[in-house]
Amino acid sequence: MSQIVVEGLAKTYRIAERQPGLLRLLRRRWREVEALKDVSFSLQRGELLGFIGPNGAGKSTTIKILSGILRPTAGRVVIEGRVPFDNRIAHVARIGAVFGQRSQLWWDLPVIDGFDLLRDIYRVEPTVYRQTRDELVAMLRLERVLDQPVRQLSLGQRMRAEIAAALLHAPPILFLDEPTIGLDAPSKLAVREFVKKLNRERDVTVLLTTHDMHDIEALAQRVIVIGHGRVLADQSFDVLADRRLLVDFTDDAPVIAIEGAQLLRHEGRSVEFSFDPRVIGAPALIARIAADHAVEDIRVEQPAIEEVIARFYHLHGATEA
């Protein structure tokens, strides 16, 4: 039995359309926007799922429906036997969520006061609360910011505090909507490290959205690509992310054919390959090329998320109206 089941999820927003010109202001027109058309997937307990897709693809909408905040227009969501919107109060007591672009902590209160308030809101037993809180504080290195008002925290500190705040009631499911947005490298690493640990050691089911491919690579065993309100791909990360090999030769680039490597670009002294690391690894590929040709420079790159998404759009473009 899956912990999270989503079937044929759809969400339509109605947005006001304004015509140019003064008189047109009097006439209000509405346009329907389908944020989600048909999203289905299921998740087992302890899975770590990455949700990627461009802005407006429907990632956040999906998370907000799964959190019981938004009511779906059509489709079915069942999480541990609960229908999120209909059983909202029972549901939200058993999930944690972080919406990266908003704050759930009280701006004027010190972090610790906000945590105490959440203890009462979620009706957590004081002894259990103290233990959970101390563990989270240690894991997220929050000792030094506990007494500071939230408004004085740096973005990295605030995000770590936000994540701790979402877990004080020890929920078995965690939704993270862009948890690394705007963070510097050390903070990103800290957040990733923590999420991984939480998933492995506590068996917490994690669903996260991001625009950062490195988040996905570091964390997710499984990735769903969402676009135009539909699931475009649902597979393991490795399949999704191919690598690029850029080679500059000392003379004009030769024509090379290697199994597992696909030629993308051939220009003057440079070539670009796309290769599948499961068929041929980077060291083997580099060795093959360098053995036969005079090479000036070699770089292995990972395509940006935009490229991956764009490729999926291209692949699935035909199915769109």
């Binding site: 009511r71 909202r88 919406f99 209160l109 009462d120 862009e178």
Partner: protein, 275 residues
């Protein structure tokens, strides 16, 4: 007790946070002092020069009414809860819906805490100025007088508590309007027009013509200042005082029912956009 725990915690947290804004309380008190003093002088001039008019209230009653109105200003629903307005504007309303609490009660308690924490220092300062300092300065005629008697004082405390609940219930209707329209500007401009006139804040309702008195007492805004104040002055006593309290209860329940109905509709149509 465990059921109430989140709400009690939210009340205490909001109350404490609001008490931090001491400068705002002093500023508000100063404005209300000037405004109150101005009104007291205008009424004194009126009563001195229109000796032939039939006055339904004595000058001393009108003056005490004025000071009470100034002291309790922050308990009147002048607009929506700024925290709700901010949450709606920024999308943080998502987090309000993420809590395992009844959203109506949650917002209601916070509005009640917000209003009473704002009112507490202002009322204390106003009492010190108008009821203690003015008599000491020899301006006894312009001062805030004690309640009619102990019974009236007790009923006034009850009515004051109901005034807070009624005000919070009305604030909730404004909050819902803000949530539905996504802006607090329209309703926050419209609502005070009704509150200032119909609550008795501008002119005591008792000074309006006799024929309109039943309608003025029966309308919901009377419970937001006029009924408690009339009970304090003793112009509403015995059965009439209990009828006033009943009216406050009636309008509170009506607003709560409307609000609860409204919030279900607003929340099922909620749209959170942009990430």
């Amino acid at each position: 007790m465990n059921i109430l725990r989140p709400y009690l915690a939210a009340f205490a947290a909001r109350f404490k946070t609001m008490l931090q804004y001491r400068a705002a309380a002093v500023a508000g008190f100063t404005t209300q002092c000037w405004w109150g003093g101005l009104k007291v002088m205008v009424y004194t001039a009126f009563y001195r020069h229109s000796v032939h008019a039939h006055a339904p209230m004595t000058l001393a009653q009108v003056i005490t009414y004025t000071w009470l109105g100034q002291a309790l200003l922050a308990l009147q629903p002048w607009g929506g809860d700024p925290e709700v307005a901010a949450a709606v504007r920024t999308g943080a309303v998502s987090y309000d819906r993420l809590r395992p609490v009844d959203t109506y009660t949650w917002w209601f308690i916070r509005a009640a805490a917000w209003m009473s924490a704002r009112a507490l220092p202002r009322a204390a300062l106003m009492f010190a100025a108008a009821a203690v300092l003015l008599p000491l300065a020899g301006l006894d005629a312009w001062s805030w007088r004690a309640p009619a008697d102990a019974t009236q004082a007790g009923l006034f405390v009850l009515s004051l508590a109901l005034m807070i609940l009624l005000g919070a219930a009305f604030t909730m209707l404004i909050n819902l309007c803000i949530t539905a329209t996504l802006t607090d500007r329209g309703i926050n401009t419209l609502a005070p027009a009704f509150v200032i006139l119909l609550s008795g804040n501008l002119i005591p309702l008792g000074l309006f013509p006799d024929w309109i008195q039943p309608a003025l007492i029966a309308q919901p805004f009377a419970g937001m200042l006029d009924i408690p104040t009339r009970i304090y002055l003793g112009t509403l006593s015995g059965g009439a005082a209990w009828a006033g309290l009943a009216l406050q209860v009636f309008w509170t329940l009506t607003f709560v029912m409307l609000g609860r109905k409204g919030i279900a509709g607003v929340m099922s149509r909620l749209e959170v956009q942009g990430g």
